[in-house]
Amino acid sequence: MSANIVTIRNLSKIYQQGDINVTALDNISLDIASGEFLALMGPSGSGKSTLLHIIAGIDRPTNGECRVQDIDVAKLNESQLADWRNQNVGFVFQTFNLIPVLTAYENVELPLLLTRMNRAERRKQVEIALEIVGLADRAKHLPKQLSGGQEQRVAIARALVTDPALVVADEPTGNLDSHSAQEVLGVLRTLSRDAGKTVIMVTHDPKAAAFGSRQIHLEKGELSK
């Protein structure tokens, strides 16, 4: 295993709900190696999604440090964070979250519109990403013309297209049948194993977690194993 891509030290996240403070993460310290496929497990409300969001730069910790590729993500401002996410993080969500009016090709191309790539370069990247997830022949299909598994694979292609070092997946198989789930998990494992991407996947499904190279558990905001 190579050097750590994610280094978390004494990380806490406390939400204010009215007069009540809710501790989502409590003094977490964690290292994630580059190229690792980490399965983040735990029951609902354990803080696993919160941890994923902080690592991916879409949420900020209350205390502690989260360094990704040696950058303290919490210290970036909104604009810097947006650029950083575009270049370094690929997102896969439980509900796919494709734009319904765009074709599979256009959905995958979306993050590249923020780069300086020209149309030909974008085309090449998109075609590679769709090829990796096995949907090159569905490029012109709208999301509603795809199955759930195919939609999630398009979402993975969208996450890959900027060639990020880190792919975060929040319950990526939660809305899929077992066959489609196997396909999606296979793609994520291939990304980690063959393409060297670091994949962090939140799941409460032990079968899904088994695809990971490492599993960690969160319980009431603390690492339990």
Partner: protein, 383 residues
Amino acid sequence: MNLPSFILKNALRNKRRALLSVLSVAMSLFLLVTLQVALRELTNPINDEGSSLRIIVRNKVSLAQPLPARQLQTIDRIPGIVAVTPFSFYGGLYKGDEKFTSFAQFAVDPQRSLPLISDAKGVTKEQLEAWIADRTSCILGKMTADRYGLKVGDRMQFTGQIYPCDLELKIAGIYYGTADDRNLMFHQKYLDELLGNPGTVGTWWLLAASIAEAPLVTDRINKAFANTSAEVRAESERAFVLGFVSMWANIKTLISGISIVVVFALILVTVSTMSMAIRERFRELAILKAIGFKRRELFVLILAESFGLAMFGALLGAGGAWALFNNINIQKMTNGMFLMFEVTPQMLGLAFAVAALLGLLSALLPMINVARTSVVQGLKTLD
């Protein structure tokens, strides 16, 4: 794909709603432009060179108060006047079956009025002579003649509304080419005769020798009758019409009020629709944020979408009004109530400015919401 095509696809994702939004903007702006045109046509005085030369002299107390006919001798002696004629508004109902006076009938001295109606075309010398010779004859504007299918030689009956007498007039000629081709002119002598020679006229209508002379003439006339039993107010035809228009203040206020209500209702409807359209896409906007879109880029997406829809609506509504009113015969459609119905560049500018404001306001609330909402909140809201 590029950002403009992405914006277009977003704007048209719910085609029915987009269409209804555009149509609501279009219809409202069409109405706004139509009201503005109507207001302008109702309140815009004649503004040709002749209207600056022509002077109306009325009783200083009120337009409804007559003037003594003997004033003519005094006016005739005032320098700078080319022609002067009695000019009495008869205001009768044609055929007696109309509900209101739809065109004006003026009693004049035909011989004296000729220089004042020199721009009238279509009446031959013989017809003019016939009009002058026969005190029960008249000349009629072509618009009214066309409206009622009248021709030279036909007779017209009027029921008096202001004066206690009815008229029967024979058409001696039909004219066109004046600022208002609806009017009828007949003999003041005939009216006097029917009324038992009261020795009064409604107003005096006169022609100044030049534009430079016109204000001097009005001043001379006002002074000539100062401190008499019938003081007068002389003013240019344009000023007279403007004074007349000022009596329409309530109509102006009403139309302006309706215009404001239209714009306000339009803003409420469109802001609500656009906000709804964006609110439904909060998750998508959160995803766009997650994959690297910055606030300002999302603002551009939202603004371009609402601005585009509003502008398209303006193009249909204001542009449609312009195209329609340029291609219809408004005189015929309104039975001569409106002579013109011109959409001016200022009105188009107003309509597009309203649309631009609309686009901006529609985008404002969604933009504030997007700015305030984090990616995580955006995802949680709809998950």
